[in-house]
């Protein structure tokens, strides 16, 4: 037993050193600025300023409201869908599972434009309905942000809950039913509580992502500002930024996120269920009528969330004259981006794959430490890991330049800085999905392995890691698709030949070349979709969305 402690102490030492070097030092320096006055003395003045000024302070309320509503809507949409996908035999499941992830791939700054194109004041749907005498509210403002983000982020809940359901062992439900419980009772007293950590984990990811998101609020908020949009404009202002106030906003984002995480600790920490999955539950084939209904529901939800991607794909084949699009079929937009897209796609694939691998390895280990070696140290580690989640990529990008542009460590101008920034920025996905699945796995199997004389690390790799595999792979896929669409840190850190596909899209959007931006986005969508589809197909029924 002493040996086991030593090995994991070593692992947590390495993990902490990495977090210190890549996260705490670069970001700490930046956030520290919020506590210093012009002369460098300690002050809370910037916090008083921020909170006393309604233009800034009201955005905190806006952020909580938007994120809360988005989380609620995402749960309502995704939990039933997860049950359908994990438990019911409905047609076309591999495709459905793959399509369900697609909303996460759509780069937010172009996906959200699709809603304006359809539901704006002059949107296709708006004007169509107007002709029929129906007036609908426009998509602008708070409710539009909630709509766009819900359909963008519900896959988080879907992935995690479906993963948890897949990991349930058949014998448990059989035993419960054998003891005379009705199916409903089994559902409410067994299935729901056991999947609760994953439901909460997914809800947490949605809430935090929505809380840190600034793309959709910027595009369809029409002046409805949230905390990240304020931090962004304080930070990257064309007329000279306000570093102290920007750091204050960023620090408030981190504080809010930490508070939310503590609530989650408290909620999940008290109830834990462990099990050993030996026999997965085979999907049920419901009666034809019910099957039809459930199938329609699943495809409706997944289809609706794909609307932005579809609009982008259709637009990419429109004819462009400068910034103006005409609905005639044309391949002109694709010719326009042909020069830089192949290299940019290759860069995006290489960079995100490398950083995802790092995330999966460290994320799994950290998840293990956090769940199985609960201590003040590992709890601190868990909170640290989540910091990048709360901070806009812009802030991370700038913090990285400041930290790594001078000896002893010069990384700017290399591709390595992009990999490390992606690694840190997306680490929360691997940690969260890893720890959610670990909550479901009985530690006794691993303990048995160790007591049979297998070394702790080997036992972890052979037993626990293997049982965690569904969670690890779905976390890995999440990390990968979220990394390949990263733009806000990339725009500060990319250099020379390492331009990514998102930089190409972003520049085309800023140049008002929406046709070319749509073409590049469509290429990205297809390039990401094919590998995801292949993974799901290869793993077949074992795959829960991803694995």
């Amino acid at each position: 037993m002493r040996n086991r402690g030593d090995v994991w102490t070593g692992v947590s030492g390495v993990a902490f050193a990495l977090l210190l070097f890549l996260l705490i030092i670069p970001l700490g320096r930046l956030l520290w600025a919020s506590l210093l006055d012009d002369a460098g003395a300690f002050t809370l003045k910037h916090y008083r300023d921020f909170l006393a000024y309604p233009y800034y302070s009201r955005t905190i309320g806006h952020s909580f409201l938007v994120s809360g509503l988005v989380t609620l809507c995402a749960l309502v949409v995704a939990v039933p869908l997860a049950f359908l996908i994990a438990r019911m035999d409905i047609p076309g499941k591999p495709i459905l599972k793959s399509l369900a992830i697609l909303p996460l791939v759509s780069p937010p700054f172009i996906g959200a434009y699709s809603w304006i194109l359809l539901f704006g004041r002059a949107g296709y749907v708006t004007t169509l309905l107007q002709k029929g005498g129906i007036i609908i509210p426009t998509v602008y403002g708070m409710h539009g942000i909630v709509l766009a983000l819900t359909l963008n982020l519900y896959p988080f809940v879907l992935l995690m809950v479906a993963g948890a359901l897949q990991a349930l062992d058949q014998s448990l439900e059989e035993a419960a039913q054998g003891l005379g419980s009705s199916p409903w009772r089994v559902f409410w007293t067994l299935t729901v509580p056991v999947t609760m950590p994953s439901i909460l984990g997914g809800a947490m990811l949605v809430f935090l992502t929505a809380f840190a998101e600034f793309g959709a609020p910027m595009i369809i908020g029409e002046g409805y500002q949230v905390l990240p949009t304020i931090v962004y404009s304080l930070f990257v202002n064309e007329m000279g930024s306000n570093p102290a106030l920007a750091s204050t906003g960023a620090a408030l984002l981190v504080l809010c996120t930490t508070a939310i995480l503590l609530v989650q600790y408290w909620a999940v920490g008290r109830k834990r269920y462990a099990m050993t999955q030996l026999r997965p539950i085979p999907p049920v084939r419901p009666q034809p009528l019910l099957r039809g209904l459930l199938t329609s529901y699943a495809y409706l939800v997944v289809g609706l969330a794909l609307v932005p991607a579809l609009v982008v794909a259709v637009t990419s084949f429109f004819e462009s004259r400068g910034p103006v699009l005409y609905p005639n079929f044309s391949l002109g937009n694709y010719q326009e981006v042909l020069f830089n897209v192949p290299r940019a796609i290759a860069n995006s694939f290489a960079l995100s794959t490398a950083s995802t691998l790092l995330d999966v390895i460290l994320g799994t280990l950290v998840a293990y430490l956090v769940v199985r070696r609960r201590s003040a140290v590992t709890a601190a580690m868990d909170s640290c890991v989540m910091i990048p989640y709360a901070i806009p990529g812009t802030v991370i990008g700038v913090a990285y330049i400041v930290a790594f542009n001078k000896p002893p460590v010069v990384l700017t101008g290399t591709f390595l800085i992009l990999i490390l920034a992606y690694f840190v920025r997306r680490l929360p996905y691997s940690v969260r999905s890893g720890s959610a699945i670990l909550h479901q796995i009985d530690p006794s199997v691993e303990e048995a392995s160790i007591s049979l004389g297998v070394s702790p690390l080997k036992s972890f790799a052979k037993v626990t890691a293997r049982l965690m595999l569904p969670g690890i792979v779905s976390g890995g896929i999440l990390t990968w698709v979220q990394t390949i669409t990263e733009i806000s840190a990339t725009v500060f850190l990319y250099f020379g030949a390492w331009s990514t596909i998102t930089v190409v899209i972003y520049r085309q959007v800023s140049s008002s070349n929406f046709g070319s931006a749509a073409a590049a986005s469509t290429i990205l969508l297809v390039a990401v979709f094919i590998p995801v589809l292949c993974v799901n197909w290869l793993l077949g029924e074992r795959a829960v969305t991803a694995v």
Binding site: Y53, R321, G322, N405, V410
Partner: protein, 329 residues
């Protein structure tokens, strides 16, 4: 022409002009991607210098260079809004381009003592959607936009985010005065306006019919016109500003000689003619014709816009503008 400059800059003159440079240059730019793709290869062919572009918005490239201060990775800023560039003078090295004599001296004022060189110029304008607003109804002045009939129908980019939008705010204060009466006009316009996050959204939103009218800058508006969008452009009769986009040499650039060659080339007649012809950009040079369909500058009523005054008052004006937004939204 370029050869002469290089020889002048290096008194020894022993090396062949064409090879007296570092062989590469790194350019931070907010120019449109299509322009970057056109000019890059032309420069490489002409000089044999390999050029690398880092493309992002004006605010982002400046922030990037600020963070890199001490060990600059870029050599040149190209085609950034001049006002924010001049506000970051501590990042810049003074330089006089080879064709300096051909640049209209009006645009050299307030350019951080020669640290920023004018590239192209772009008057602030009103755009309107011709399907939603007839030419007769269209607002002819800034003041007209304060009329409550435009409530929720006009678009304006946030002045605390977009540089050009701040220029419009400062222009309004130049026209109507930085006093209660002037700020009242600003407040009345903001009551009518939808606030968008970036300047490119204004002409796009008006062209798409999302907004009836908008406050924006000329070349973005004219690109919509050139593309065939139903957009009309008004040069406000109560007067407007004509600020330049600028270029600059980054202090501590690692490839200063190549950087200077790029700065010279960027405002050469060859490039400026092409930008006017193909990309609807109005040159700061005196010997380049305005793009086709553009009103000559002498027909536009310009106000005495003071870039240094606008830069100095940035924090105060933006705060006042934000207060207005809190009040009216």
């Amino acid at each position: 022409m370029l050869g002469c400059v290089v020889l002048a800059a290096t008194p020894t003159g022993s090396l062949a002009a064409s090879s007296d440079h570092e062989g590469q240059v790194i350019v931070y730019t907010a120019a449109q991607s299509t322009i970057v793709q056109a000019i890059g290869p032309m420069f490489e062919k002409k000089t044999g210098i390999k050029v690398q572009f880092i493309e992002a918005g004006t605010g982002e490239v400046i922030k990037r260079a600020q963070a890199e201060k001490g060990n600059p990775l870029g050599d040149v800023f190209w085609a950034l809004a001049a006002e924010p560039l001049a506000a970051s003078a501590d990042l810049l090295e003074p330089y006089t381009v080879a064709d300096d004599a051909k640049i209209n001296p009006i645009y050299k004022k307030g350019m951080a003592g020669g640290r920023v060189q004018p590239n192209n110029v772009t008057p602030m304008v009103i755009v309107y959607n011709k399907k939603l607003v007839s030419d007769a109804e269209a607002p002819k002045t800034w003041k007209a936009l304060a009329d409550p009939k435009w409530k929720d129908k006009i678009a304006y980019a946030a002045a605390d985010k977009s540089g050009s939008s701040y220029t419009i705010l400062a222009t309004l204060l130049t026209v109507f005065g930085d006093n209660d009466a002037g700020w009242k006009v600003v407040e009345d316009i903001m009551k009518n306006a939808k606030i968008l996050p970036s300047s490119s959204r204004v002409p796009k939103g008006v062209a798409d019919g999302e907004y009836h009218a908008g406050l924006t800058y000329e070349d973005a508006a004219m690109r919509q016109v050139a593309g065939g969008a139903p957009v009309g452009v008004v040069y406000p009769q109560d007067g407007t500003s004509v600020p330049p986009d600028g270029n600059a040499l980054i202090q501590g650039a690692k490839h200063p000689k190549a950087a200077k060659l790029f700065l010279d080339y960027a405002v050469s007649k060859e490039v400026m003619d092409l930008l006017a012809e193909k990309f609807s950009l109005r040159s700061a040079r005196t010997d380049v014709n305005p793009p086709k369909g553009f009103v000559p500058l002498r027909e536009i009523k310009a106000v005495a816009y003071d870039m240094e005054w606008a830069g100095k008052n940035y924090a105060a004006f933006v705060k006042k503008w934000q207060d207005i937004i809190v009040r009216v939204k």
